[in-house]
């Protein structure tokens, strides 16, 4: 039954058309719009070429946003991956309760994200927050300590911490699935060769897990470029833009300040960063695979 008909195209068409109308076309449109200056109040578009990008480079809030996104990527990678791997290994070898522990660690990931933001806003609250409630028992320094306000440089770390708290369970599950796929014989062989459990971890677990960890690292990176919800719910990017990230700044520029062309330029940069990260990881994990084959 190999004849050329229209049927396959008709089956694919609705999904492809929908995707083209709502994702692909708007993306191209965003890139184009980033070359104009316009607002919803004054919808006449003025062609300004790369002016928006030139302005961005000298915009201190954009620079803060970009720095915060990079910080988000680096800290998330450094904390989430190792802790998730450690937990996955520990939970995998747990003699009792391993189901319960898995359930609890994954728990934060199913809590709706706006609720997470509100919960932690309350926990960080200077006067009645749970965190200061604990810390004041250690030292009176922490009385009325405002984790989301003062000093401003702690704010972004406070938010990154919440993000790690929410996503480590997710990454633990992903890595756990990878660990469970490793055949027991490999460990038995390592044991027979007299390898210690650390040697087995380095010699068997890590090399096999490398690919799934690369995928995971890509997810963390792309997720950190897109990060919006927690920052928006907890601080709106404040105080004074201290916890601004590209997505919050893009939203503020476009939908509060009504600078649509400028917002489109920021969105284009987010898109470019996502693209670069994806190409990097695909290349990297591809090369790893080739290396394993050779």
């Amino acid at each position: 039954m190999r004849k050329t008909t229209l049927t396959p195209y008709l089956l694919v068409a609705p999904a492809a058309a929908f995707f083209a109308i709502y994702v692909l076309y708007p993306i191209v449109h965003t890139c184009v719009l980033s070359g104009y200056s316009w607002s919803t109040v004054n919808p006449v578009k003025r062609l300004v070429g790369l002016e928006n990008y030139r302005q961005l480079l000298s915009d201190p809030y954009f620079v803060i946003s970009l720095k915060n996104n990079l910080l988000f990527i680096v800290v998330s990678l450094v904390i989430q991956l190792p802790v998730a791997l450690l937990l996955a290994v520990a939970v995998g070898s747990l003699t009792r309760y391993h189901r319960l522990v898995r359930t609890l660690v994954f728990g934060p990931f199913v809590v709706p994200i706006v609720a997470v933001g509100l919960i932690w806003t309350a926990i960080y609250n200077p006067s009645f927050g749970a965190l200061n409630g604990l810390l004041t028992h250690l030292s009176p320094v922490f009385e009325h300590r405002g984790w989301l306000s003062d000093p401003p440089w702690t704010v972004i770390y406070a938010i990154i911490f919440v993000s790690c708290w929410r996503y480590i369970g997710f990454h633990m599950m992903v890595l756990l699935a990878g660990l469970q796929a490793i055949p027991d014989e490999l460990y038995e062989a390592a044991k027979i060769d007299g390898a210690s459990s650390w040697q087995a971890f380095r010699g068997v677990t890590l090399p096999i897990m490398r690919r799934i960890m690369a995928v995971d690292a890509l997810l963390i990176t792309v997720g950190s470029v897109k990060i919006f919800d927690l920052n928006w719910v907890m601080t709106r990017g404040g105080p004074n833009h201290a916890s601004e990230v590209l997505a919050t700044y893009m939203y503020t520029c476009g939908f509060s300040d009504d600078r649509m062309g400028y917002a489109a330029a920021i969105a284009t940069i987010m898109l470019a960063l996502t693209f670069v990260a994806t190409v990097f990881y695909v290349r990297y994990s591809g090369r790893e695979q080739a290396g394993e084959l050779a």
């Binding site: 694919v12 492809a16 709502y22 522990v101 728990g107 709706p112 919960i119 992903v174 997505a247 996502t274």
Partner: protein, 289 residues
């Protein structure tokens, strides 16, 4: 054999870490039952008197409506995502046609795209809203829909579109694994492709459909920025923006805010404890595939 001390210490440590992960949620859920003055007095105490009025305020603050709205929007989006993705996945899995690889790559390219990249153009030009507006000029039901659920029509478009890539990809890989003998019989009976898809592929692929439905439902349930841009009408607010406006109205009374959080969190946690394996599988579907 007695467990070694090392094992005990390790188990205890892991248990402690697990407790750290759940403590913040528990703290918030307990705080929902405390009055503002009790929270201010001692953040870690148990409620001396259960402040039911917090929940009364949360209910009067339309938290119930927001939950219902999110459930309806999420349901509609997931159903349409699957209805659009299944035929495409079937074609990619079973039919050979020119350009299939390119078409698949085109749709899958959407996997990692941030929604912020479509906000500005869609805000200016939302195909669903424009179409509905045009229809509403001459057709009463469209008018009704546009008045009562116009914002949902606007927000559902991108929700559906961003759900397609992973759904097509996952269903396709499941469909490929379905033995051809199953569908050959139907072909001999003269069934068309859509009938084969509906009667054979979809029932067999039920686990994959469930997995991908959970994944899509979860991100749509949590989606914030598209809802902020496209939903203006207070009665059409979904849970995310509803919860935020609720917090805005009660910014100084955290007992009430935590009652709102409680109403948003507890249904999800109950579902999680009941369907744990399915939910974990669904939520990690994007990474493990």
């Amino acid at each position: 054999m007695k467990p070694r001390v090392g094992t005990l210490i390790r188990d205890g440590l892991v248990g402690l870490i697990a407790l750290l992960f759940i403590a913040p949620v528990l703290w918030a859920l307990v705080s929902a039952f405390k009055s503002q003055s009790e929270i201010r007095l001692e953040p870690w105490s148990l409620p001396e008197r259960i402040a039911w009025e917090n929940f009364l305020h949360a209910w009067q603050g339309h938290m119930g409506l927001y939950l219902l709205n999110s459930a309806v929007v999420t349901f509609i989006a997931v159903v349409i995502i699957i209805a659009l993705s299944a035929p495409a996945a079937y074609a990619f899995a079973r039919l050979q046609f020119k350009g299939s690889t390119a078409l698949l790559a085109f749709i899958v390219s959407g996997l990692l795209i941030p929604v912020h990249a479509v906000l500005v153009p869609l805000y200016q030009f939302n195909p669903g809203s424009l179409l509905l507006g045009r229809l509403a000029e001459s057709w009463a039901p469209a008018m009704w829909l546009s008045v009562h659920f116009g914002d949902w029509v606007a927000v559902l478009g991108p929700y559906i579109a961003f759900g397609l890539p992973l759904t097509v990809l996952l269903l396709r890989s499941y469909f490929i694994g379905i033995p051809t003998e199953l569908s050959d019989a139907a072909v001999i009976d003269g069934c068309g492709h859509l009938a084969i898809l509906r009667r054979i592929f979809m029932p067999v692929a039920r686990p994959a459909v469930a997995t991908v439905a959970i994944f899509q439902a979860s991100w749509i349930w949590n989606e914030l920025v598209l809802a902020m841009v496209f939903i203006d009408e207070p009665l059409q607010r979904t849970l995310t923006i509803g919860l935020m406006s609720f917090q805005g109205e009660h910014a100084t009374d955290w007992g009430i805010v935590m009652a709102g959080v409680f109403m948003a969190v507890v249904p999800v946690l109950v579902l999680y404890f009941i369907f744990q394996q399915h939910i974990v599988k669904g939520l990690t579907a994007g990474a493990v595939k």
